[in-house]
Point group: C2
Chain length 103, copies 2
DNA sequence: CGCCTATATGCCAATCGAGCTATATTGCTG
DNA sequence: CAGCAATATAGCTCGATTGGCATATAGGCG
């Protein structure tokens, strides 16, 4: 998991993931939707691939990329022990709102 | 949320958060537990503070740091739409295991 | 006030990462 | 095979970031 956070730290890569979450896409499709050159997009895809966050399928010259969510599940697991902390805060917020509503 | 991932990308900072998750701690306590110098730890704490991931309480010369989980909840929200993707995979895995068990 | 403790800040060196342009590679098609 | 389309790689630059050492600041204490 070590480097998954580092991979997700880049906004362009998160944007790519968000696009691939909708559907599988070839590289050119991503280039059209981002304000980055094709080589830059390919480089980000390589990083995402090596981190296990996307997978490729070859179809003639096209490479169809799709999300591979495994590492995201590990991030989720890292978050788990913190989750109760903000749930507690949210509960407190809810109670406050209930109080106000009660007035 | 933009930069929260970048802040979490550094392993030292994640380690600091993990230590603070157990309990509130003064800076010197963190320095003792990490292989970093005091100025470096203070610098990481500054980054965490500015990202809203920790809060400080002053007590004479000591500064007690604790986790402030708000930004983590935002990470969790970003993950949400992906969650069904790996839950689906886990479900498939479970079904496979059930099949094997059924043999 | 002088000194000690605890923490923060300034400055520097080294490294890393993102983006670009130019070029290589791979596969189809006439 | 020539040529086009789609993608990948190489090489470069610039800016950001990490970590350390030295030093400043702030708060007790004798």
């Amino acid at each position: 998991m070590a480097s998954t956070f580092a991979v997700l730290a880049d906004p362009s890569r998160r944007e790519i993931l968000d696009l691939l979450r909708e559907r599988e896409r070839p590289v050119g499709d991503l280039v059209d939707r981002l304000t980055l050159t094709q080589p830059t997009v390919s480089k980000h895809l390589k990083v995402l691939r090596e981190a296990g966050l996307v997978e490729v399928r070859t179809d003639a010259q096209k490479r169809w990329y799709r999300v591979s969510p495994g590492p995201l599940a590990e991030i989720d697991a890292w978050l788990a022990p913190y989750r109760r902390m903000w749930e507690k805060s949210l509960d407190a917020l809810e109670r406050r709102l209930d109080e106000i509503e009660g007035d």
